[in-house]
């Protein structure tokens, strides 16, 4: 992997672990075995770095969407939920939840980028739910978008709550309840 993508990958992990304002170029330099100034060569400002992290998440999301584009709605929903399973295993939260907490202390260019990511997630999930409803796999009241809001908030906050309840089962409980609710 290139130095550039290594920097982005480590930044991603650190932001989601400690929070945007707590992670520093010094953390990155230490982890990557390079110097502070080298990071600035690739990313002049911390804002540039945060935007690259969000772009990385956007790319990963688009790859996931593409990989299940021909699958049935249930498989697609499970693909969406699997994102959080992976993040949960790291003990981290998702980038949306992490940056949303710091929203009014970060550069507007970051929050605008984040908005793009959120919109894409909501559109994708709402689409999955709608197709699932049409084909009779999913059952729910309200619009697909409002249902997507419920599903996304469940998953987003589960990562944050489970860090505090210390009950390893809570995450699985929430995930299964979300699935069960839609399929029965």
């Amino acid at each position: 992997m290139s130095t550039r993508s290594d920097i982005v990958a480590v930044s991603d992990t650190l932001i989601r672990e400690k929070g945007y304002n707590a992670f520093s170029y010094a953390d990155l330099a230490k982890t990557l075995g390079i110097r502070n100034a080298s990071i600035h060569y690739y990313f002049p400002t911390k804002t540039d770095l945060a935007i690259a992290v969000i772009d990385r998440q956007l790319e990963k999301l688009n790859e996931l969407i593409s990989s299940v584009t021909d699958s049935d709605p249930l498989t697609q929903l499970e693909a969406y939920l699997s994102i959080y399973t992976h993040t949960r295993e790291e003990g981290s939260v998702c980038i949306v939840g992490s940056l949303a907490s710091d929203l009014y202390s970060i550069d507007e260019r970051i929050s605008n980028h984040l908005r793009t990511l959120v919109d894409e997630i909501l559109l994708w999930v709402a689409g999955i739910l709608e197709r699932g409803q049409d084909s009779g796999v999913f059952h729910f009241t309200g619009s697909p978008r409002s249902r997507a809001l419920l599903v996304v908030t469940n998953m987003l906050a589960s990562l944050q709550l489970v860090r505090l309840t210390d009950n390893k089962n809570d995450f699985e409980t929430i995930k299964e309840a979300v699935l069960k609710e839609l399929t029965t």
Copy 2:
């Protein structure tokens, strides 16, 4: 009000607005019209201050619980949901969501205190749901605790998401969906 409680109140607001690591003694001093050093007189360290903020939230929660202790489950649930309506109007997030994002960059004494708050919220909500189920007002599958996890995560993350979707209705949509789901 005393200087001490003013400091705690402003800290509370700032942490939930900007995030724990972004808010500073300088912010407080400016807002309150006092000096940095005066705040240290009441709260020697930032950790002390964060703990006082969580204690404040615990007190407010206990007052709310007491105020509806003789009410029916639906009224109690609405009381719980009203916490977030108020926070939503400020454009802030809740203290649990805010600090959970920074969890691995804050003093352990803060996270331990936060855990107490989370446990109390979950116990209260699960109790409300259970009594509502027994009296036939609420209908849901799974244990009261797992249902409480769904409700709490919906509300917690709704504050964070709505900051990004810019759709003012999203918060109300989520809140009403939570209520409707339980009562039908």
